[in-house]
Symmetry: C2
Subunit: 415 residues, 2 copies
Amino acid sequence: MGKVNVESFFSDNSKAAFKNDPPGAWMPKLPDGCIRLSSGYPDPELVPAEEIKAAVARLLDEEHDLPLHYLGSPRITKLKQQILNRLAERGIIVSEEQLLITSGACQAIDLIARILLDEQTVVAVESPTYMEALEIFQNYTKQIISIPMDDQGIQTTLLKEMLDERKRKGLALPRFLYTIPTYQNPTGTTMSTERRQHLLKLSSEFDFLILEDDAYGELSFDEIPPPIKSFDECGRVLHVGSLSKVVAPGMRIGWIAGDHAFIKASEWFKKDLDHPFSQSTMAVYLENTHFEKRLLLLKELYRAKCAALIGAMEQYLPAPVSWLAPAGGYFVWVRIPGVDTSDLLPQALIEGVSYVPGKYFFLNQSDGTEFLRLSFSYADEEEIIDGIQKLGKLITPFFNGLPDRDMKDTNAPAP
Amino acid sequence: MGKVNVESFFSDNSKAAFKNDPPGAWMPKLPDGCIRLSSGYPDPELVPAEEIKAAVARLLDEEHDLPLHYLGSPRITKLKQQILNRLAERGIIVSEEQLLITSGACQAIDLIARILLDEQTVVAVESPTYMEALEIFQNYTKQIISIPMDDQGIQTTLLKEMLDERKRKGLALPRFLYTIPTYQNPTGTTMSTERRQHLLKLSSEFDFLILEDDAYGELSFDEIPPPIKSFDECGRVLHVGSLSKVVAPGMRIGWIAGDHAFIKASEWFKKDLDHPFSQSTMAVYLENTHFEKRLLLLKELYRAKCAALIGAMEQYLPAPVSWLAPAGGYFVWVRIPGVDTSDLLPQALIEGVSYVPGKYFFLNQSDGTEFLRLSFSYADEEEIIDGIQKLGKLITPFFNGLPDRDMKDTNAPAP
């Protein structure tokens, strides 16, 4: 009885998926002490560890074993209500049957992909877009189309051209378009209200759904733009949200809000990939938390850290480097003309600073070589400044002989 | 812009899956106060709520925000080691690269199905088998074959006949066989060591894998039989385990132990459907717990409750009713000749007792109409006796005029 031939057992679907980059390829293991400008993690000081400890204690004192069984406690229903209330404040009016709690936004995206996509189904994404969403879609379909963005978000006129052309040629239209309209990952841009409405109009005209990933939507420095879902009268928008960026990612609480048929179908495949203890704990945490006050604190801190990052870039990065100043969220998108940010990363890690090379956010990776994503969420201000100094030291030699930066360059880098 | 036509968007795969019973169809909502002889939940007194509260407090005091980020704390590595140690005690020697922590056994089974199954791939299962595993496999393939069991577990001679016949006819052989060899769900039976070895031999001869679901394996009343994986020298066995039945299901900690290539592939699709906080908490809980002592306590209580259930059945159920007395686990499999247990359930719920109708454990549901699964794990002894009395009251009229039970009938009900 010889050793089994492992490769012979994999399904065709998984063999096809294995041709892509493996999940997490975009972030090598960081050396100890490396300044994390790569990670979309919340600020460590803002993760409410004490409050979660208190919530667990109260939950288990009050409910004993109940939250530790498969179905969890009645507080899961309460969590649903708390999420519905937050959604309502943002103009999204849905019922309990139109909401599914998931293990973070990624499970939500995965479930939606699973219920909607076959191997040849067309999906449209922004270019660039969230690399983990790309990874998920590539596990399901070979037909992904990307639509360029500018500083106002996805270019809906280009989208319309693409749709018209596909229609003319008799090609399949997208089943859904995936967008992060607010403080996009990775670009930090926000889609204008006009484009949101245009996009919704196109979805109706060309009969596709919109998967709106709103993980950062509450983290505005100033005014919060209304989610696309708040304009949706036809049930075309599946709205995905998460508490990872505003409470704690390790709790894995996300959701899908949308038509009941989609929710029911997602639930079908989710089965008990659920987390009753975590959901019950989160309900108690939210009961005990003045969430609006917490949000104000988050916004203030992230605004300050974003300003520190941009200030440091103005000071330490050579003039040809440009970026988009975001109005919220976690990320700044940076262009270093002529430099391959992927080649540069190993050296940056040795210097002690990390970022995510731009190529991972593009379907066609060669479109992203000059870009990188910086996150101001996790590192503190001092580390941010230190990190950008390190990055400046690495980048400056590429531009020797060129004039110094003399003013803030906020031109949108053409993605 | 009219209401979207939801049904037009579903993938072919999901439309095919929706033709099956929806997940959880086997258990209607229970009325308040209903005695749960249906649920495979651990005993409420044995769920270590206080200890988990203490573990969370210690974890967050020591590690602050760390366990609440995406990657969790270094204790996740420790949890892996703790699981590896427990596996080693049962004769399963695997390395860290051969182990994947999952959100319970169901995610493990789902991931294995996902990496191995295409729409036409053949899977073999025991008949009867765990209904949630059936649900999962039916989400991936239309080709499921079931092999009858007796009181020694799956009938490997019938399996061999089936394999020979398929080979002769040029039909595809199973890619894997799913088995719960120890204290099976739903029958409570344990596969004999001879059959375990025969099964392993067949897997090599006919080149299929074995998916060994060992969720109940540690809950023996007496001696624990060695898992199939402990005999596996060729890497044919994927061993799935869980802490749901021995600690708390709400923590959602399970695992796959197997060849690194399968682990890597499962990880590919799992992505961050992970639970860092829960995993870190479990590591602290296990640090603080004398697990062998805990297991002894569990075994003693479940042995007593199983005896109470069987004693009550002898006293209150009419003679033609028969069952298999298990040597561990959570379940007793009962046959009520000539009675459709599915039809009987609504009345049982009104009377205040629940069970799972046998049909849900069969691929061909009509094979299971006379059977039902009782669980002695959740209800206390008094409730168990009360529940069986209620059941007896319902069943007895079907057998009026027949002689009373005069001795314990432990003949195996032919599944």
